[in-house]
């Protein structure tokens, strides 16, 4: 059973949601505290959503310096899968594990609603179970989700196919804006060059259960399980 470390920062508030979603997908999931210095041999690392350090100054700016982040850097450097959701995405950008930055929503208000996104890259540890181009409905809930990056970085992200999720308008007559926060190129999620570090603004862990109305998110968690199991096999 693959082991999943969910990193808890002071102010994390999607830690339990992420842990449960990972367990539901069949992982051995556990918390590591921001002051810890190792990941206890985790196969996969999740940086959950929330308001680490109150999101004061800039979201993720302070959490980035937590002791545990050095272990996360090493894990990522060695090709280990890392998924940052919402605040986790912001932390990954601040830590320069992902390019760009997430700024205050163009509408200047917090936005909490379902959005439609398409999966534009399936070669990542977290999107392998999706069809390329699959359309998912996932909740967003953030005040600072506007992805920005220098023009050349954006070009590179597009050229290298590193946009993992992109906001799309729903079907005709739908109430959805194509883009809830003004992100460049409607970007909702990206990955690093190797594809093992992924950051997304929407919350798949809140959309992995029939009872909650949305189920499109479970693929993120099943994907990471399949990948680690396959790679385990291939190692044998």
């Amino acid at each position: 059973m693959p082991s999943v470390a969910v990193v808890r920062f002071p102010g994390s508030n999607c830690d339990w949601d992420s842990l449960r979603a990972a367990e539901a997908a069949g992982a051995d999931a556990y918390f590591v505290w921001h002051r810890d210095t190792d990941l206890r041999g985790a196969d996969i690392v999740l940086l959950p959503g929330g308001f680490s350090y109150g999101d004061y100054l800039r979201s993720g700016a302070i959490a980035r310096f937590s002791p545990i982040m050095q272990a996360v850097q090493r894990h990522a450097g060695a090709g280990g899968p890392v998924l940052g959701i919402c605040n986790g995405f912001q932390i990954l950008c601040e830590a320069h594990l992902l390019p760009g930055a997430l700024l205050r929503n163009a509408g200047l208000t917090f936005v909490s609603k379902p959005v439609d996104v398409t999966v534009e890259r399936t070669e990542t540890p977290f999107t392998g179970d999706y069809e390329l181009g699959a359309r998912l409905r996932l909740p967003v809930a953030h005040g600072e989700g506007r992805f920005v990056a220098p023009a050349d970085t954006l070009r590179m992200l597009e050229a290298e196919g590193r946009v993992v999720l992109r906001y799309v308008a729903a079907t005709e007559g739908s109430p959805f804006q194509p883009n809830p926060n003004g992100s460049a190129n409607h970007i909702a999620g990206i990955c690093n060059a190797a594809g093992n570090v992924v950051g997304i603004m929407p919350h798949p862990e809140r959309a992995a259960d029939r009872l909650l109305g949305l189920t499109g998110g479970s693929g993120f968690f099943t994907s990471m399980i399949s990948v680690t199991q396959n790679s385990a096999k291939s190692r044998i």
Binding site: P10, G11, N13, C14, W16, D17, R20, A21, G49, G50, F51, Y53, G54, D55, Y56, L108, T109, F110, V111, S112, K113, P114, P139, A141, G143, A170, T171, G173, S174, P175, F176, H203, E205, R206, A208, D209, L211, L212, G213
Partner: protein
């Protein structure tokens, strides 16, 4: 040593050097009348010190002492098999299945929000969260009930925008989903908005902890944020007395820090479940004073505090300031001395300080020292319980009676078809999507029915049951007839709960009224409470706590009376929850419950005829109970595809809301319904826009229709088959010879855009830059 003590002094305390003399002016500035001051001197057997005066003025304020409301509140039903903790604690607690319990409470933060909408609303949410997690419950949902003046005025738009942002930012950061609420706009709230926040928490029944100090020699610890000069009672005058120049440094405004709140939440729950502590209470209104005095009184013990030990945020704070500061995110903990080290290490893990500041004593005295010198010594029980109680005169105002007896609503400004569009464009009725999109409603991954439903519903991970919750109050009905209006508020809440399939369990109330010393205001208060009590008895939903907010006076006089009802309900099997909107074409549409067509107090008269008055429909509690039974049993048997209650705007608005669908439906439905046989002898306008309670619009599959009708008959509720849901995007209503037709998409646009359109003004928030 006690300069101020007279012969027969009961306790000894001496003024600090340089602290103001207790003069008649000072006494008046502390809002203590002669009777109250007389009782203080009698209680102490001497003149109080300045600091003692501050303590009395805080604990004997209306907010803490309930001196005008106590006798009336005693008439509420507060017992029942489900009640674990009734009124008197930080929150009420009700029993749930599988060893679970729910703690919930509602609280007002009206005046702070009128001064500073963002911080006022934010700290209101912070306070209600603490009330719930000090019971040992983890907050799982927030609701909010808001009132403002009309959006045509910049100040009202500013207050509305700031309050919504404040409510959202705080709850979002702590990570508690907002599952529901209400917003209303009426001239009566101009200058005095209402901000009521409700929190719902879950706990294992065995983890319940009460805020009673025990164990002589046990330690008092201050946990959390440092104490500053925020919101000090009477600081405005005290500052001049204490030091001219420091005036500027004494802000009244309390600033919230949701990050510290989140840490405090986790630390408190860890302390409670680990059994390390004896008692814990939030330092809320009147801060350290009320928390320590109330905990001591509940435990029948005394306490002794040294204010010099309290971690302060600013230099040179006096005992008066430290005792009365309302700095946020602070807790007072009682624990055995042997546990202090462990407690401090738990708090350190959450980056919080836990500082010993005093101890539990056996003499029953509330004693405060400053660097050892005794500055406050008051008999504890009497301090908390012996504030004079008042029985103000209650007399209905003449213009209130006149309004109710008025008969002629005048001419409608649009025809009956246009009236629906006009009502859906009314901010009080229109979709509140603009509001709840600023609130995280899905964090904790348990939201089953989000805002936009009749009631919010959440699941409990690992349990079968679900929890439903709502807040409701139609103040127009209270203003016209407080007794019937009080019943109506509870009835609407219960209907909203039952529509989701849940059984109403109990309520918490937030009683917002004007100055109780005005006979017409106290009449509204007394009668509304009588109505609430009668409805709660009829529904078996005891009052588990609440909050009274008097002195809500706008320039034009008292606010519209607004006793907000917060209710929770139990869904035995959460997967049986019923949505509020039409689901699929060909479903059968039924109208459950009868109408008298009375338009008194209706939104139709108010908005379309610009007339607030007349006799409103009497609330038939019997019929409400039968409707609730029908709805919950129908849900239990999985007969319902949707259920939506009729409230403001009557049947027409309820049908429109059901057809339009939820805030994010894709594609549109329609319905063509024949209401001719529903109420043959009622005029069309009454059929469409009358606001009789005990009614709901429900849909079911063709196959279930028979069973639904049978069930209705069993419960003696009238059930009328009106037609079918259709895929064509129009709503058609036939009433006798009149045929009305609306395009669903057009109605949706009106309904969804009503508030955003008015809030597009760039002046919305002077703090756009914040």
């Amino acid at each position: 040593m006690t300069g101020s003590s007279v012969a027969g002094a009961v306790t000894e305390a001496s003024p600090l050097p340089g602290e103001p003399q207790v003069t008649p002016e000072i006494i008046r500035e502390h809002n203590l009348n002669d009777q109250e001051y007389g009782r203080i001197v009698e209680m102490l057997g001497r003149t109080p010190t300045f600091t003692e005066l501050g303590v009395f003025s805080a604990l004997w304020s209306e907010h803490c002492s309930y001196k005008h409301s106590k006798p009336v509140l005693k008439t509420f039903p507060t017992t029942g098999p489900q009640v674990i903790q009734g009124p008197g604690e930080n929150a009420g607690v009700l029993r749930l299945p599988e060893g679970w319990a729910v703690a919930f409470k509602i609280e007002s933060h009206n005046h702070p929000s009128a001064v500073e909408p963002y911080q006022g609303a934010a700290t209101g949410v912070g306070g209600i969260l603490r009330d719930v997690f000090t019971m040992g419950a983890r907050p799982v949902a927030l609701l909010n009930s808001l009132r403002f003046g009309p959006l045509d005025y910049p100040r009202n738009r500013y207050l509305f925008a700031g309050v919504v942002r404040g409510v959202g930012d705080y709850g979002n950061c702590v990570g508690v989903p907002t599952l529901g609420g209400e917003v209303n706009f009426a001239p009566g709230y101009t200058g005095n908005p209402l901000v009521n926040a409700m929190c719902v928490g879950l706990l294992r029944e065995r983890d319940l902890i009460r805020a009673a100090a025990h164990g002589v020699g046990n330690v008092l610890l201050a946990v959390g944020a440092r104490t500053g000069r925020d919101g000090i009672h009477g600081a405005s005058f005290a500052s001049e007395e204490l030091s001219e120049k420091s005036e500027a440094r004494r802000p009244q405004v309390q600033v919230g820090d949701p990050f510290t709140e989140k840490l405090l939440l986790e630390a408190s729950l860890e302390l409670i479940t680990s059994g390390l502590i004896v008692a814990i209470q939030d330092m809320g209104a009147a801060g350290l004073t009320s928390s320590s005095a109330e905990m001591a009184a509940r435990g029948g013990v005394g306490v002794e505090i040294d204010t010099a030990l309290v971690p302060a945020r600013e230099e040179g704070m006096t005992p008066y300031e430290i005792l009365l500061s309302e700095s946020q995110e602070r807790m007072l903990v009682v624990a055995k001395p042997s546990r202090v080290a462990e407690i401090q290490s738990v708090c350190a893990k959450w980056e919080l300080n836990a500082t010993p500041i005093g101890r539990v004593t056996d003499d029953g005295i509330f004693r405060v020292r400053h660097h050892g010198q005794t500055v406050v010594a008051i008999p504890g029980q009497r301090l908390v319980e012996d504030c004079p109680v008042y029985y103000p005169e209650a007399r209905e105002g003449d213009e209130a009676r006149a309004r109710r007896d008025a008969v002629d609503p005048g001419m409608p400004v649009v025809d009956l078809e246009g009236a629906l569009e006009m009502l859906l464009d009314t901010p009080s009725i229109a979709s509140k999507r603009w509001v709840f999109e600023q609130y995280d409603s899905t964090v904790q991954a348990s939201t089953v029915l989000p805002p936009g439903s009749d009631a919010g519903v959440l699941r409990v991970p690992g349990a079968e049951f679900g929890l439903a919750m709502t807040v409701d109050c139609n103040s127009r009905l209270i203003a016209l007839d407080p007794y019937e209006g009080g019943k109506a508020a509870v009835a609407e809440a219960a209907r909203n709960i039952a529509c989701t399939g849940a059984v109403p369990l109990g309520i918490t109330d937030c009683l917002n009224f004007g100055n109780p010393e005005k006979p017409e205001v106290f009449f509204q208060f007394r009668e509304a409470c009588r109505g609430i009590a009668d409805a709660c008895r009829a529904f078996g939903t005891p009052v588990t706590g609440g909050n009274v907010s008097f002195y809500n006076e706008s320039p034009t006089g008292a606010i519209d009376p607004t006793p907000t009802i917060g209710m929770v309900g139990l869904l035995p099997r959460v997967e049986n929850r019923v949505p509020s909107y039409f689901d699929s074409p060909r479903d059968e549409v039924f109208i459950v419950g009868a109408t008298s067509g009375i338009l008194g107090g209706s939104a139709y008269w108010a908005e379309v005829c610009d007339f607030v008055g007349g006799h409103q429909p009497a609330v038939d509690l019997e019929a409400e109970v039968q409707l609730q039974h029908f709805l919950t049993s129908a849900a239990e048997r999985r007969l319902l595809r949707s259920a939506h209650d009729c409230s403001e705007g009557g049947l027409a608005v309820a049908l429109a809301e059901a057809v339009m669908g939820g805030p994010y439906v894709v594609g549109t439905l329609g319905a063509s319904l024949d209401l001719t046989g529903y109420a043959p002898d009622v005029p069309t306008e009454g059929v469409l826009y009358g606001e009789d309670g005990a009614r709901a619009v429900v849909t079911c599959s063709a196959a279930s229709a028979r069973h639904l009708i049978a069930l209705a008959n069993e419960n003696q509720v009238a059930v009328f088959h009106a037609g079918r849901v259709e895929s064509a995007g129009t709503l058609e209503l036939q009433v006798g010879s009149d045929l009305f037709s609306w395009n669903t998409e057009a109605l949706r646009r009106i309904y969804l855009e009503a508030i955003p359109r008015r809030m597009q003004h760039p002046d919305v928030d002077r703090a756009v830059g914040e």
